[in-house]
Symmetry: C2
Subunit: 204 residues, 2 copies
DNA sequence: TTCAATAAGTTGACATTGTCAAGTTAACAT
DNA sequence: ATGTTAACTTGACAATGTCAACTTATTGAA
């Protein structure tokens, strides 16, 4: 008796998953700050406090959504990592573009994943950190590879270099997402500039 | 009858300024999300709705605080611009460091100035935009100067270059402020790396 | 099969918040 | 002096997160 798609009798059957899915949709549609537990519960068709049997509090629910986001981003990164038939320069470029494209296409989710709501004041759950840290670590791994491939100075501290690189893509993404840069049609061009500015002296 | 520092009889006398000052302190102390109009009013010693005679709503108050922040940042930028006795390379480096130092020392204010609360959904007031745009524009002006001084490629589109540069400092600042990078002792080192990575091929 | 333990869901209640409406008080220009 | 208006007040409301106490269904052991 677990095949009816949406609402069931008393016990929902798969409320946790449904909450995450619907909450993600609501966030994508109307933004993070517009998400209220009560509206979410209403939408799903349960009472306001039902979610508390699956998530400790609102923060835990947000962490759950972010987790899914990190898994998504990890898959994208992993996929790029495996495209060994492309030149290093091309893969570096794609990394930058892919990262910002992900942020652009999932603006509200990105905001949640890397925003203060979750990270400030140690709000993040352990499960979230388990998803997120590999994603952070991936930046460093990639940087080391680019150094070995001669794209970036091999004598530099890989962690520091990756922090600058990540800062750049994160900053550009944020300026768009938060509404400071408003002309979305220029994203790709800005990415190209970023690529060239970092690789300028290793190109020829 | 306008010399008593804090609370007066019925008319406060200088409530608008006081609200901005106290609100700024509260934000600096406890973070943006902890600021409530009611607590603020209580702190200042007026009723909950008194602020509404000086600010249209909470958003307008936040914009007012941010305005002060932009004036502060504009002064720092202007000061750096005038240090013509330093080498271009040194001035570029100081610009990066000063920017991130400002963000670090005024974390919550910075969050407000460049955060989605204000810029998303066109929440910004006209007065705020009048303060903020010169600050944005300044980035481009500086970039053009660096190009002319040979620090950056003069053939590149100055706007795009400045967007990448600003993205970088903004991103690094945000990663620290939002609690993703947690080791504050490395800020300066990361800044140095940023400087070197952008100027690498123009250095020798 | 029965039945107790427990997981899942419900209503009631409360404090906090932003904000509106309607009233009050003081300042100020005529 | 007097009336207009700016500054401030209390009362009220809806939205929200979350706790406590209760109810209903599921499930695993007897």
């Amino acid at each position: 008796m677990k095949n009816t798609p949406e609402k069931l009798n008393y016990h929902h059957g798969d409320l946790r998953t449904t909450l995450l899915r619907v909450a993600s949709e609501m966030i994508k549609e109307h933004g993070i700050e517009a998400l209220s537990l009560r509206k979410l519960a209403a939408q799903v068709g349960v009472s306001r406090t039902a979610p508390y049997h699956h998530f400790k509090d609102k923060n835990a629910l947000l962490c759950g959504i972010a987790e899914n986001g990190f898994e998504k981003l990890n898959r994208i990164n992993q996929h790029g990592f495996e495209e060994t038939h492309l030149s290093p320069h091309e893969r570096f470029s794609r990394f930058i573009h892919n990262y910002i494209r992900f942020a652009s296409n999932n603006a509200e989710l990105y905001e949640l994943m890397f925003g203060r709501t979750i990270w400030k004041d140690k709000n993040s759950t352990q499960e979230l950190r388990d998803c997120a840290y590999p994603c952070f670590q991936f930046q460093v791994t990639m940087t080391q590879q680019w150094q070995q491939q001669g794209l970036l100075n091999v004598d530099d501290n890989a962690l520091r270099v990756s922090q600058v690189l990540w800062g750049t893509v994160h900053g550009i993404a944020k300026l768009f997402i938060d509404g400071i840069y408003t002309d979305n049609s220029k994203v790709e061009e800005i990415c190209d500039y970023a690529v060239n500015m970092f690789l300028a002296d290793n190109k020829q």
